[in-house]
């Protein structure tokens, strides 16, 4: 497969989990994202890197339509999830967000108990028929997020009382509790200390088995550590996309090289 081109062919599209073609985002007059073509493969961790304001977070928020919430934001082009058009009129955005979970930059647990934090998603989607099933989902999600051992004796305590790293893993548990297919992570470690960061990165690597992950990060080391594919954005354009190893060892585009070697950023 040709990993080096920024504009994949139509045939690739069917293989991709999430596929973007000619995606543009405007915030009012501002053209924030320009003609992005990008395929995200299933069960890969795809890292989006680039300097501040390059549009990587904007692209991420297009995938689960969080940009809908911003006044006068306008998205054009085509974005598919398993061949379904994400921006189709008939797509229910609530259903879509159940299929595409999100973890935010700052840990944002609900000011409720740890249990209720994780149980909230399954509850609103009616995923559990009874309490036992709900318990199973909650415990399973906490287990997968690597948090169960730390919190199993205090599930009734409030989620905001946990440490920053634990809060972020709680948010990840909350996201995977609704069994999404894709998890979007918007700089999930930028508010965490190095030890908590290491734990979350380890977790991301484990989650790859069951989920497709797209992660926005400012740390190139992090991108190199956790991702299989890396996409480099600059000034709203997708400059280069490819296997992580190749992007970091043999970048094709001079801008990518400049960013990776720290000449700007």
């Amino acid at each position: 497969m040709n990993a080096n081109t920024a504009s994949p062919s139509q045939a690739d599209r069917r293989l991709a989990k999430v596929s973007a073609r000619d995606v543009n985002v405007f915030y009012g007059q501002k053209h924030a994202l320009k003609h992005v073509d990008l395929d995200i493969r299933a069960n890969d961790v795809t890292a989006l890197i680039g300097p501040s304001g390059c549009g990587k977070s904007t692209f991420l928020r297009c995938i689960n339509r969080m940009n809908d919430l911003i006044e006068n934001a306008q998205v054009t082009g085509s974005l598919n999830l398993d061949g379904d058009d994400i921006y189709d009129r008939n797509i229910d955005v609530v259903q879509l967000r159940a299929r595409i979970g999100m973890v935010f930059q700052k840990p944002n647990p609900f000011p409720k108990s740890i249990y209720d934090n994780v149980a909230y998603g399954p509850r609103i989607h009616g995923m559990a028929r009874d309490q036992a099933e709900l318990d199973e989902i909650v415990m399973g999600s906490l287990e997968k997020a690597g948090l169960l051992a730390e919190v199993k004796d205090r599930l009734e305590e409030t989620g905001t009382g946990l440490s920053g790293g634990q809060q972020q893993r709680l948010c990840i548990a909350r996201a995977i509790a609704v069994a999404p297919e894709v998890i979007l992570m918007d700089e999930p470690c930028s508010a965490l200390d190095p030890i908590a960061t290491a734990k979350v990165e380890e977790l991301i690597d484990e989650l790859r088995e069951n989920f497709t992950i797209v992660i926005v990060t400012h740390s190139m080391q992090q991108a190199a550590r956790v991702s299989q594919r890396t996409a480099f954005f600059h000034l709203g354009e997708l400059v280069e996309v490819g296997d992580t190893e190749q992007i970091f060892t043999n970048p094709q585009h001079p801008l990518t090289q400049g960013y990776i070697t720290g000449r700007f950023g």
């Binding site: 969080m66 919430l69 879509l96 979970g101 999100m102 989607h125 996201a175 609704v178």
Partner: protein, 432 residues
């Protein structure tokens, strides 16, 4: 970081300026403290005046009389009186007879009338209550404490002089002498003024009570709460969470802020025009009062509600939406519970404001003289602040202390509501 810069200013001029800066700060602090002291001084003056004027209203002078509950004088059947007959019996004559018996030396119609006037003209009501509750007392002689007339009350409390002919004294020389005698016998005493808390308004100060106004205020505020809490919360939720931000919503926001500043008497006129003239609701009723007060407190609640919802961090909203919650689920599951303490605090403060509101209620006829305790929000009724206004307008000396007492009761309720608001805020306050 290693080198420490010199603490002393490099130049003489800078040192002088530093001194000036400290002096300015000291002056500013002194100004602030004196402003607070002045405010506290005024508050203390207000409280001292009200307490000094009004504390005595919580007791009432009573006269003890040996009342013979004679069936013939009462005009009821001696053996088996019906309840209706006992209710309509002539208790006034029984009391008069008891007075004449207490002062056998007094003769002549004019003097006897003066003597009878020492006891309140409403004393027969309390006597009736005694007998209706216990018909077995018929035919016996009971030693009963009866409410004294307000002039006697004022003299006993020392609000007017007991010197004959002194200014403000409405008792005759004879009455003063009889009062002295009663006092020597120990038949005059001040007792807790139950009438103040159990009866409605009256032309006779010693019988006038606040209960009618308290019930009226309760009904009015209940209507206000029922109308403006759901309306206010719904409005603020829509404006804050759902409405698009455009010129129309900006206009609405500006107008809501303006409404909060509209003089309340204007709302009273609006209520008069709409609720009374157009819908034909009953005059002087807590229903209309409550609706008008709801109009007044609605902007306050909307503004407080929106502020409380703004304070909920956007990350909570994003978290809920990111999990696939609908916008309504986001509001009901997260935004509303988190902002409820703020909304409730705003609501209670709005209610407290409504409780003290007078002018708009004058517009819709709640200033009428109403003796009965309202049984429903449709009955004519007074409210506490209007009762204060009515009593303050009355010429009798005894209404002066009752006005202050009514103010104390009003302030008590206001303070309670504010305490409730503070406790709510303390209890549910969250930090992120």
């Amino acid at each position: 970081m290693v080198e420490r810069t010199a603490v002393i200013s490099p130049t003489q001029a800078a040192a002088g300026r530093l001194k000036q800066r400290y002096a300015a700060e000291r002056r500013f602090k002194a100004l602030g403290i004196s402003a607070i002291a002045l405010a506290l001084g005024f508050l203390a003056m207000l409280l001292v005046t009200i307490l000094g004027n009004g504390l005595t209203a919580f007791v009432q002078t009573n006269v003890r009389l040996d009342v013979t509950l004679d069936a013939e004088t009462l005009g009821v059947d001696a053996v088996n009186p019906s309840a209706d007959a006992l209710g309509a019996a002539n208790y006034g004559q029984v009391i008069k007879n008891a007075m004449y018996k207490a002062f056998p030396a007094v003769e002549g119609r004019a003097e006897r009338r003066q003597l009878a006037a020492l006891v309140s003209s409403g004393a027969d009501v309390s006597l009736r209550k005694v007998l209706v509750a216990n018909p077995g007392l018929l035919g016996t002689t009971q030693s009963i404490w009866l409410t004294a007339d307000d002039d006697v009350d004022m003299a006993m409390k020392g609000h007017v002089s007991r010197q004959a002919g002194a200014e403000g004294n409405r008792l005759t020389d004879n009455q003063l002498a009889w009062l002295d005698q009663l006092e020597q016998r120990g038949d005059v005493a001040k007792k807790f003024n139950t009438a103040l808390f159990t009866t409605g308004d009256s032309r006779e100060p010693e019988q006038a009570g606040l209960w009618g106004a308290v019930v009226g205020s309760f009904f009015s505020l209940s209507i206000t709460l029922l109308v403006c809490f759901p309306l206010g919360v719904a409005t603020s939720v829509y404006l804050e969470e759902f409405a698009p931000k455009n010129r129309w919503t900006d206009l609405i926001e500006v107008n809501i802020n303006n409404l909060a500043a509209v003089p309340s008497v204007v709302f009273g006129l609006l209520g008069l025009a709409i609720f009374l003239n157009f819908f034909g609701f009953p005059r002087s009723a807590p229903l209309v009062g409550g609706l008008v007060l709801a109009l007044i407190s609605l902007p306050t609640i909307i503004i407080a509600g929106r502020a409380a919802m703004k304070a909920v961090p956007p990350s909570i909203r994003e978290a809920a939406l990111g999990l696939g919650a609908s916008k309504l689920q986001m509001v009901t599951d997260h935004v509303l519970p988190l902002s409820m303490p703020g909304i409730l605090t705003g609501t209670i403060l709005g209610m407290a404001h409504a409780l003290g509101e007078t002018a708009p209620l004058l517009m819709i006829g709640m200033v009428a003289f109403i003796v009965d305790i309202p049984a429903s929000p449709l009955d004519p009724s007074a409210v506490l602040p209007v009762q204060v206004y009515l009593w303050a307008d009355s010429p009798e000396r005894a209404f002066v202390e009752r006005t202050s007492a009514a103010i104390m009761v009003l302030l008590f309720f206001l303070a309670m509501m504010n305490v409730a608001a503070i406790l709510l805020r303390k209890k549910f306050e969250r930090r992120w």
